[in-house]
Every structure is written in structure tokens, then in C-alpha cells.
């Protein structure tokens, strides 16, 4: 394979589209549950994003390789088995190397199986395209998911706890001495929803073609 084919215009688009125009969270509104649940702090959000990245891109490639032999009647079950296997692998790796984060994410690692983005991409893309394109699609969608997660977690941790990655940023800046207080509402799930909403709002102001015609 020549380099030009590896990164053709189409593959580039597979990577860049999900970041903005076809973002899985803000445009397709998939995977919202995890975006609300694990964005209180940055570290679990990043670990979650990485886990989804591994599961989605690998599962997309596997399904793409098997797409011609999967009977279409049982394709959902085959997809589930592939995803579940990968999720268990990821879960074991997390437990072995970052036990505290794994405990924090608790049930949400297992729930990657039900993350609509993954099943959606396997069904819509992996089942119909070659392995390299599927890999790129998986990466692109994971990045689209990841940047929203990280952006939400950044604001929630900074404003809700005054820290970033557990480091007391605001305290070291001496803002508390001016009378500043952490915003307890940022830690509650409703604020994650509102933060995602504000991101969607800003995105649509900048990207007019996303706005539905009246």
C-alpha cells in the first residue's frame, strides 16, 4: 500500500468528520450517558476515552474483516460478542495497571458494550467497508467522542473541584483567598448535560450548516 492510499482524501475525511460535522455526541447525540456519568474529573474521562478508542477501532477492524462471512440475521449478536470480548480485555488491563481509576469507572467500563456509538459504527460502517477505512472511522469517532468528554470533564473538574488531574490549580493561583468558592452544581450530573448543551450551542454558532432549517 502506498502512502497516498493510506491517507487519501476519503480516509482523512473519515478521521476529521466525526470531530465536528458528524460528532457522535453533539450531532448524533449518542453515548450521552457515559458523557454525563464519568466527566466529574479529567482522569477517568481520559481513561474512558482511551478505552472506547481501543474497543471501537479494534472492533471495527474485526467486524470489517468478518463482514463477508457474518450471516446478516445474527450480525448483532456477532457484533456484541466481539465488543464484549474487547471490553473484558480492556477491563482486565485497567484493573491490572490503573486499579484506582478502574474502581472509579466501576460499572461504566462494562457498559462500554452498550455504548451506542460502538454498535452504531459497527452496524453503519464496519459491516460495509474495508478494514483500513473501518480502522480510520473507529479512530475518528473515538476522537470525536474523546474531545467532548475531555472538554466537559475539564470544566467540571476545574469549576466543581478547583483541580485538574487532581492538582489544585485554583488553590495554587490563590483564588480562594479572594472569596471564590467551588461550584457544587458542576459535580452534579445535570451540569454535565448543560455543559454538553453549551458545547452544542457554540458548535452550531460556528458551524452554520448543522442548524436545522425551520
Amino acid at each position: 500500500m502506498s502512502k497516498s492510499k493510506l491517507l487519501s482524501k476519503r480516509t482523512k475525511q473519515l478521521l476529521s468528520d466525526p470531530l465536528d460535522d458528524n460528532n457522535p455526541i453533539t450531532v448524533q447525540v449518542l453515548g450521552i450517558c457515559s458523557a454525563l456519568a464519568i466527566t466529574v474529573q479529567l482522569k477517568p474521562a481520559i481513561v474512558m476515552a482511551l478505552s472506547v478508542l481501543v474497543v471501537l477501532s479494534v472492533a471495527n477492524v474485526i467486524i470489517s474483516l468478518m463482514r463477508k462471512v457474518i450471516p446478516s440475521r445474527i450480525r448483532i449478536i456477532v457484533q456484541l460478542v466481539v465488543v464484549a470480548t474487547l471490553v473484558i480485555l480492556v477491563d482486565q488491563v485497567l484493573r491490572a495497571f490503573v486499579y484506582d481509576v478502574s474502581k472509579e469507572l466501576s460499572v461504566f467500563v462494562g457498559l462500554i458494550i452498550t455504548n451506542c456509538i460502538i454498535m452504531g459504527r459497527l452496524e453503519a460502517f464496519g459491516m460495509a467497508n474495508g478494514p483500513w477505512d473501518s480502522f480510520m472511522d473507529g479512530l475518528g469517532n473515538s476522537f470525536g467522542y474523546a474531545w467532548i468528554l475531555i472538554a466537559v470533564a475539564f470544566f467540571r473538574e476545574l469549576l466543581g473541584s478547583g483541580t485538574l488531574f487532581g492538582y489544585p490549580v485554583l488553590e495554587s493561583l490563590g483564588i480562594y483567598e479572594l472569596g471564590y468558592e467551588n461550584n457544587g452544581m458542576m459535580i452534579l450530573p445535570p451540569m454535565a448535560l448543560i455543559t454538553v448543551g453549551v458545547i452544542i450551542w457554540i458548535q452550531r454558532v460556528k458551524n452554520i450548516k448543522l442548524v436545522e432549517s425551520k
Partner: protein
């Protein structure tokens, strides 16, 4: 007034189409219509015009709030001088309260109107008058000692997330003033509950400034053994948010609202009725002190009366149909008492009950309208 008119007329060319400050026209328009009768004419078709426009409606609400404002300011002073055991008089209390209340009001209006102006200019529509009432209500439902920057943050949140994202005045789902309070309550709970914030200076000298609801919710004393009696709660010699303490002042406001036709008597009455009946029901159960508090006392304490009169009657976020208004009011009263007695962490059930019912108001209306259509269809068949 002639002077203002001349100034406005002389700068008008700057703001009309083609002028240098064309984009700022909404701001100019807001000042002009605030000071003078608008000379706008309808552009399409004919409409029935009424002298009672949005501005005048809002003016009546502000008028009906005046008893609460004056009593609230007086009460700030009275509570403070009582806390530090200093002899005081009427005027002294009022002046002290005025200087405590003014910064809250100024921050509320300055921040809220800036956000409104910014949105009006960026969207090119005229500035709506809705904030004139919201901006007055917000300081009245805050504790006197709330830090001003927190007030500013909650006002920004309420106007942007509670109102502007839905399209501005008239489109909001939730009552903006209560959104501000709910935001503060969940974001900075230590400044919105407990016994330190309701009386200025409480806590500094060991004086407990807890509210009646707070005292009852802590489940240490029944209503009969509290230091306040029925008259205190009725007239309002009690700690609490600035405008909510005096039942009598609120009822004067309610009468102004009802007789001017601005507030719905259906909502006000059914809210009180719903709360009263629910509290009676819990009296029979009575496993904690909030449940065993007499039903009529429940209506006097906390924000129940203020919420029933000034918050639930918000014509935008409340029910629109007559039957709907009664159901909406009854349910607000019901939920306010239920949240109060079952969850001591949220003794102010009124705020949450109204916000909850704001969300359900369109649903209630939908079924009322639907039932009406079905009834009339039956007649033609």
C-alpha cells in the same frame, strides 16, 4: 422629559439603518420605549391593540412587590439589631436594610440587563421587559448575606440557560428568578441554607439565625416550642429570604395582582388550597415535626406564600388554560409540602415544586385542550 426626547432624537440617525451604530439599535430602542410611549406600528395585517402592553403588566408586578420590598428591608435591619441586641427604631431598621438590599438589587439588574442587551444586540431583536420583574424578584428570594459575585453568577446562569437558550422572554420553560435561586442552592449550598446566612451578622457572635423551616427540619423542636408564634410568622418578624417573610405584605401584593388582572387568582388560591390540604393530611401522620406542624402555619413559613403569589403566577412558565391553572396550582401546593416533610435537606420545597410544575405545565394544558376538543367533537356527532 423634553430634554430626554431631544437627546434621543438627535442621536437617532446613528442607530437607524445605515447609521454608524446600526448594530446597537436594540439598545437604543430599549431606552426609547422605556422612556416614551412606543411609536411602533404593526407591519402586517391589523391587530387588536390594548394599552396594557408587556411593560405595563410588568410595572403592576413591580408595584405589587413594593410592600414586600419595604417590609423586607425593615426586617433585615430589625433582625440584625436584634441579633446584636441593640435598641433600634423603625427608620433605623429601614435605612440599614436599604443599604443591605441595594447592592443585591443593583447587581441583579446590572448583570441581568447586560446579558439581555448583549443577546438583543447579537440577535437583532428588541430588549424585552421581562427582566424588570425577574431582576426585582431575584434579590427578594436571596438570603441577605449572599456574596455578590455568587448572585452575579446565578443571574447569568438564569438569564442565559433559563431563558435566552429557549429564545428569550416569553419562551422560557422555567421561571428565571427561581432558576437563579435553584442554581445558587445547589452550587453553593452553604450560602443558601443553615443558620448563618439569613440574618446579617449571624454566626459572628453565636447568634443562631436559622429559619423556622430550618429549625423544624432539624427535627429538634416542634412548632409549639419554637421562639416564634403565629403572629410573628403572619407579620414577618422572622429570619428568611429578603422578601418572603411577611405573609401580610405578600397578600397585599396578591390583591394588587388579582385586581389588576395581572396574576391569576386561580393559581394563587389553588396553590394555597393544595398546600393546606396536603399539610392537613400529613398532620394525621405526624412522624416528624414538619409533618405535625399545623397546616395553616405551613402556608405562612418559608417561601410558600411568596412562591404561590409571585412565582407560580408567572404567565410564561405556568399553565395557560383555566382548568389547567387549578390543577397546576394544586400540584404545586401538594409537592411543596411533600418535599418539605420528606426531605429535610430541602426544607424549601416551594422552589423545587414550582420548577417541577413549570416543566409539567405544558403537559397539563395539552390534556385540557385535548379533552375540550373531544367534548366538542362529541356534540357534532
Amino acid at each position: 422629559m423634553k430634554l430626554f426626547k431631544n437627546i434621543l432624537e438627535s442621536v437617532k440617525p446613528l442607530f437607524v439603518k445605515g447609521g454608524k451604530l446600526e448594530k446597537m439599535y436594540p439598545a437604543y430602542d430599549a431606552f426609547e420605549t422605556f422612556l416614551f410611549v412606543p411609536d411602533h406600528t404593526t407591519k402586517s395585517g391589523s391587530h387588536i391593540r390594548d394599552a396594557v402592553d408587556l411593560k405595563r403588566t410588568m410595572a403592576f408586578v413591580v408595584l405589587s412587590l413594593i410592600p414586600c420590598i419595604i417590609f423586607g428591608m425593615w426586617n433585615i435591619g430589625d433582625q440584625y439589631f436584634n441579633a446584636i441586641s441593640v435598641e433600634t427604631n423603625f427608620l433605623n431598621n429601614l435605612i440599614f436594610g436599604f443599604w443591605k438590599f441595594l447592592p443585591l438589587l443593583a447587581v441583579s439588574y446590572a448583570v441581568g440587563l447586560s446579558v439581555e442587551f448583549a443577546f438583543a444586540i447579537s440577535r437583532g431583536h428588541s430588549v424585552n421587559e421581562g427582566y424588570l420583574v425577574t431582576g426585582m424578584l431575584i434579590p427578594l428570594i436571596m438570603p441577605v448575606d449572599v456574596p455578590l459575585w455568587m448572585l452575579a453568577v446565578s443571574v447569568v446562569f438564569a438569564v442565559v440557560i433559563g431563558k435566552e437558550v429557549f429564545g428569550g422572554t416569553g419562551m422560557n420553560i422555567l421561571n428565571p428568578a427561581l432558576t437563579a435561586r435553584a442554581f445558587l442552592f445547589f452550587a453553593y449550598p452553604s450560602y443558601m441554607s443553615g443558620d448563618k446566612v439569613w440574618v446579617h451578622g449571624a454566626g459572628l457572635d453565636g447568634y443562631s439565625g436559622e429559619t423556622i423551616l430550618g429549625a423544624l427540619a432539624s427535627n429538634t423542636s416542634s412548632w409549639d416550642n419554637l421562639k416564634w408564634n403565629f403572629n410573628d410568622a403572619l407579620i414577618g418578624y422572622i429570619p428568611g429570604s429578603v422578601g418572603e417573610t411577611s405573609f401580610i405584605a405578600i397578600i397585599i401584593g396578591a390583591l394588587i395582582l388579582i385586581f389588576s388582572g395581572v396574576g391569576s387568582w386561580r393559581i394563587i388560591l389553588s396553590t394555597f388550597l393544595g398546600g393546606y390540604l396536603t399539610a392537613l393530611l400529613f398532620n394525621l401522620w405526624g412522624v416528624n415535626f414538619l409533618m405535625s406542624t399545623p397546616a395553616h402555619i405551613h402556608l405562612l413559613i418559608g417561601g410558600f406564600a411568596f412562591g404561590a403569589v409571585f412565582m407560580s403566577t408567572d404567565p410564561v412558565s405556568g399553565s395557560q388554560t383555566n382548568k389547567g391553572k387549578i390543577i397546576y396550582g394544586l400540584l404545586i401546593g401538594f409537592f411543596a409540602i411533600v418535599i418539605r416533610v420528606f426531605n429535610p435537606a430541602y426544607p424549601e420545597g416551594m422552589m423545587l415544586a414550582i420548577l417541577l410544575m413549570n416543566v409539567f405545565a405544558p403537559l397539563i394544558d395539552h390534556y385540557i385542550v385535548d379533552a375540550n376538543i373531544k367534548n366538542r367533537l362529541k356534540r357534532i356527532n
